[in-house]
């Protein structure tokens, strides 16, 4: 009868042999001191490994882990608020720009200004293309909306801006 292989001994200890193979290993071990010795060696490894105790963790790892987590995505409601806020802010910026450009356009002739500058600095023959604000088709002072409406718009944008940024800041802080 041939001796038990290393693989068979391991599988026997891992209890993964089918029942008949398991029984035949037991029978062999009972009658073969050489294999019984090898079996004892291996079994003692199982036993020794099981003696290793769990170590105590002295530091709480949670704060360090949580601090390094990426910021969670904002809930849909907040993302909507941020989108509306951004849209309104762009609209307001546009309105302000329109007023400002209209004012400039009606008060100053930009071309005159540029020509004067060129004369002053050595009569450069190079003509710098100048911006004629009227050519852009910008209106004068008038806002497309009434004054009370623009104030309401300003307040709404400000409130949304404040809310949105407060939420974003809080989100960043959590992350």
């Amino acid at each position: 009868m041939s001796h038990l292989t290393e693989e068979t001994l391991n599988k026997y200890l891992d209890e993964v042999l089918d029942p008949s193979a398991h029984l035949s290993v037991e029978a062999h071990l009972a009658s073969c001191p050489a294999c019984q010795n090898r079996f004892n060696d291996l079994q003692s490894v199982f036993h020794t490994l099981s003696l290793l105790d769990e170590k105590t963790l002295v530091r709480d790892l949670a704060p360090g882990v949580l601090a390094r987590l990426p910021a969670p995505p904002l809930p849909l409601g907040w993302r909507l608020v941020l989108a509306i806020q951004a849209g309104l802010a762009m609209g307001l910026l546009g309105a302000i720009a329109q007023v400002a450009l209209g004012f400039l356009g009606s008060q100053i002739d930009a071309r005159l200004l540029m020509n004067a500058w060129i004369d002053t600095f050595g009569r450069i023959s190079l003509r710098i293309p100048t911006l004629d604000l009227h050519m852009l088709g910008l209106p004068g002072y008038s806002l497309p909306i009434s004054a009370p409406a623009s104030i309401v718009l300003l307040v709404v944008v400000t409130v949304l801006w404040g809310l949105g940024n407060a939420r974003l800041l809080r989100n960043g802080h959590e992350a």
Partner: protein, 169 residues
């Protein structure tokens, strides 16, 4: 959507399993600082791959499997020119010197030292089989390696341990 998306749930998961995760890392890496770092990295990786966690199952086994791979990757990074297999050369000499001979009586330290004498891949299979109680197939899945390799690694690791720990009996 995994329940881990909720931070409080995830924090609770850390509190419950950090000691177990730390112990896995300690058995494979052998020192407190590395084990703590690996445990933290495990949780961060778990959060990133939280979609692989099946709700309703215990998170402990899932986390401990991730830990083994985190540790192997750390060893690979720390010793890039070395193989993690059989021809691994353990950098610090794990054999106890004259000074440490008395400490060798400390069975705990001795078992830990013997684990560290094993090549990292062997440590991993010993960890997964003996401390996490996984089947050969499950170990192969965790390590993403062929079943036959896992089996032969495990059997060789036990043979090495049997030879090195003869005096413990």
């Amino acid at each position: 959507m995994s329940t881990i998306d909720d931070r409080d749930t995830f924090a609770e998961m850390i509190y419950q399993s950090q000691t177990a995760v730390y112990n896995v890392a300690y058995r494979i890496l052998g020192n407190v600082q590395d084990a703590e770092d690996a445990a933290q990295e495990t949780f961060l990786r778990a959060y990133r791959f939280r979609h692989t966690y099946k709700d309703g199952y215990q998170s402990g086994p899932w986390l401990k499997r991730i830990t083994v791979n985190v540790c192997l990757q750390r060893l690979e990074k720390a010793y890039p020119t070395q193989s993690l297999d059989e021809d691994w050369l353990q950098p610090p000499d794990p054999h106890p010197g004259p000074q440490e001979q008395t400490e060798a009586c400390d069975l705990q330290a001795r078992i830990q030292a013997e684990l560290l004498r094993l090549p990292p891949r062997y440590r991993a299979v010993i960890e997964l089989r003996h401390y996490q109680d996984l089947s050969y197939q499950e170990i192969a899945a965790v390590l993403n390696r062929p079943l036959s390799d896992v089996r032969s690694d495990l059997f060789r690791a036990r043979r090495m341990l049997a030879q090195n720990m003869k005096d413990l009996r």
